[in-house]
Amino acid sequence: MTDLPTDLTRATAADLAGALASKTISSVEVTQAHLDRIAAVDGQVHSYLHVDGEGALAQARAVDARRQSGESLGALAGVPIAVKDVMTTKGLPTTCGSKILEGWIPPYDATVVTKLREAGLPILGKTNMDEFAMGSSTEHSAYGPSHNPWDLDRIPGGSGGGSSSVLASFQAPLATGTDTGGSIRQPAAVTATVGTKPTYGGVSRYGLVALASSLDQAGPCGRTVLDTALLHAVMGGHDPMDSTSIDAPVPPVVEAARAADVRGMRIGVVKELGGEGYQPGVRARFDESVALLEELGAEVVEVSCPNFEYALAAYYLILPSEASSNLAKFDAMRYGLRVLPEGVDAPSAEQVMAATRDAGFGPEVKRRIILGTYALSSGYYDAYYGSAQKVRALIAQDFAAAYARVDVLVSPTAPTTAFKLGDKLEDPMAMYLNDIATIPANLAGVPGMSIPSGLADEDGLPAGIQILAPATKDERLYSVGAALEAALVDRWGGPILDRAPELGGAAAAKGA
């Protein structure tokens, strides 16, 4: 078996799991190492909204005891994990990056969290995110942005920038994410980590605070394709509490990641994703990756998906529509923030609702609630929500036609590398364009993954390649991802994150 690095936080989850299984190390040691790392660097990166050291260590002790008693445990038992703050955790704060949920302690665990606990993964804490997952940079978090470990002045992607920066700064070997339009894949791309958005319905949404119910999908985040597959297998599977959950076993993702074989696979390069607006360095790394896949035995063809052009517009009608309704429950009546209106003696329930929502929601959330409320209004519904649903059907047709010819599709994950904090905050359209390549998968419900493709020449920052597969064929992402990853790591002479700057010391001054 692989020798573990002296610094346990540099190890992969797979290697930690192996060492834990052979009792070379204990879960308490691994968990403590990560808590120490968090204490050392999170002041600069600001990945976590809440760290639960005591809880994580208690879980670690429990799993160590179970192992000592000879119990047979899951593959990742004892490997600590960070959980995106959009998933409810019993007894742990869950804010979704919003002031309106400040102080709320959920009385129940999301199904994904239950699965993590049952599989014996100690939960280190909750990771930062754009408020209610609306954003591509974490700058819309009410608790301040997270920073990209590659350059602390830059964004770590969003909405799951907390989870991506946790991985890239070695504050956890694994993390959970949710992806409504790219919130797992785009943060992975700009931090040189790995993230998968499974098939819609492949991972339970029960306990995920909903942004857009028909688009939201929880998924695994890791530093390697195999680690991500191992976590995917733990998170996935049917949940009777989620009506939209697929009643079938998790696809064989771990087997696919271990086999890492693309020989004979047909890979389609999406013509519409990668032209104008894509940074040259991102484009160059993508082209090299495609060439590598060909060398590895895959057949590469160009595929056209003409309706992808309308994906962004449709997405920004469907998402705000569903979000405007999903976010109506935050009304100060039963939980979360309650603000009394100023200058009103005996405010009515309605006045308290209005004052609370005004104070508790940030500007991006308000923008989307207003957009969605408008799009669903009588007289506008057909033109907006109705048309968007038609586009959605057309995009699904594009995918179906493409998958009749190829096994998987590929594109750059995001058009650019990480931009500077504050650069796009005042320009929502520029921010939205970050997700142009990732959104079609959400509209069609198909699975997607981002893995690092290298560093862009012009800025030395990470770029990502996106792999897309047909619905329920998630294992194909791992076949392609693992094969390409192995070839790239070989070419780089080691994991790409080894090239990221050291945090601490001089870098600390640049931190938050």
Binding site: T88, C96, S213, S324, A328, K329, M333, A349, L376
Partner: protein
Amino acid sequence: MSTVTADAVMDYDEAMTKFDPVMGLEVHVELHTATKMFCGCPTEFGAAPNSQVCPVCLGLPGALPVVNEKAVESAIRIGLALNCEIAQWCRFARKNYFYPDMPKNFQTSQYDEPIAFEGYLDVELEDGSTYRVEIERAHMEEDTGKSLHIGGATGRIHGADHSLVDYNRAGIPLIEIVTKPMVGAGERAPEVAKAYVSALRDLLRALDVSDVKMEQGSMRCDANVSLRPRVGEPTSEEQLAVPLGTRTETKNVNSLRSVERAVRYEISRHAAILDGGGTILQETRHWHEDTGITTSGRVKSDAEDYRYFPEPDLVPVAPTRETVETLRGTLPEPPGLRRKRLQSDWGYSDLEMRDVLNAGAVELIEETVAAGASAAAAKKWWLGEPSRRANAEGQDIVTYAAGLGLTPAHIAELDGLVAAGRLNDSMARQVLDGVLGGEGTPTAVADARGLELVQDDGALEAAVDKVIAANPDVADKIRDGKVAAAGALIGQVMKEMKGQADAGKARELILAKLQ
């Protein structure tokens, strides 16, 4: 109490000479499934506030709904019983509006794809004629929580000092049954409204899908009323061609009597406004049970926009045709047909059947007859003392009898004792009194009280002889053929026998001895 100024109303008969009423009724029925519409919480009525809740029905962040299959089955059965078509594929929709007793601030309901649509219910009126109520749709939705507004004059949210919310009711399955405009009823509109709600209640009870207790809110009625100018007979072509007037919707009319009164009141109120040259405001009205009037509620305007869209958290409901046909096979006999069949089986007159219906004793009599009693005896005993006492207690006969432990088997047993000649009528009344008093079964009461017709002919004959001897004048009259005079002697014989004799037998003996 604030003073509510009553609006001007026109005399009902006068209103009918000038206007033609059109109604639309929306009835909400709470299903009595064991669990709620979208979660596993119990639905029992009367539990401690907020004791039957979970993340789903409290609308906690992250929680998701799962459809209660039983509720869907009930909805389909209701649709079938209302002669509706059942959708092959339909979705839930979100109805978005803010209110503190609605946990998610949207109600999961159905919008343009109801589970059942295009049906009818034939309603029998008091004169025996039938009115067909066209059903537009029956759809599934969830109930809201229940608000209690403390302080303030009206018991409504505006003006209250504070409000309490009980979410036990939130998420209880509801079926909303909506009629098409009910036209052609003319002056009988209020009666038709009441008869429809009553027939619907009977139907839902027979389906065993709801408690249908209007007083507990498990069945609630909203009554829409509009008037149009009267141009001919209510069902005439020219009258039906007149466009509908502006309607008002009177909310929460929660008893059969109130349905009739509220419709009648709104007709008179509309008539006064229209006759005075005014216009009707499209609005919701509150019904006041105590004063019998309605007052203005919310004005319905174009601004009221529920922003319906398909519920993305639920998959479509797509019952197979086999499922629908299987459910059709579980439908009970329609209440109207059943009543006719029972009346004919039992040989009751129309008047007798109406008495039984009014007493709510159909099922009790049916079970009593099944237990061996004659239909005539079953009616006589149930509608007698038990019914009188139930009325005095303000209870329905079924509840009252159940409370006392008086069963159809008891009544059948009592009838059996009379038929077997052990008890006469007056003794049977005493026995029933004992049963109602909790003394035990009819046989046990009769034994304990020593009630038994004397079967010893010697004792009876001795008594007859003694009475004849004591009344020679009467005896002579009978000998002369005045048989009617025997009555006087029978009474004395019964007295001699302390009531424990068979009056018929005494009469036979007297006549035999004197003729």
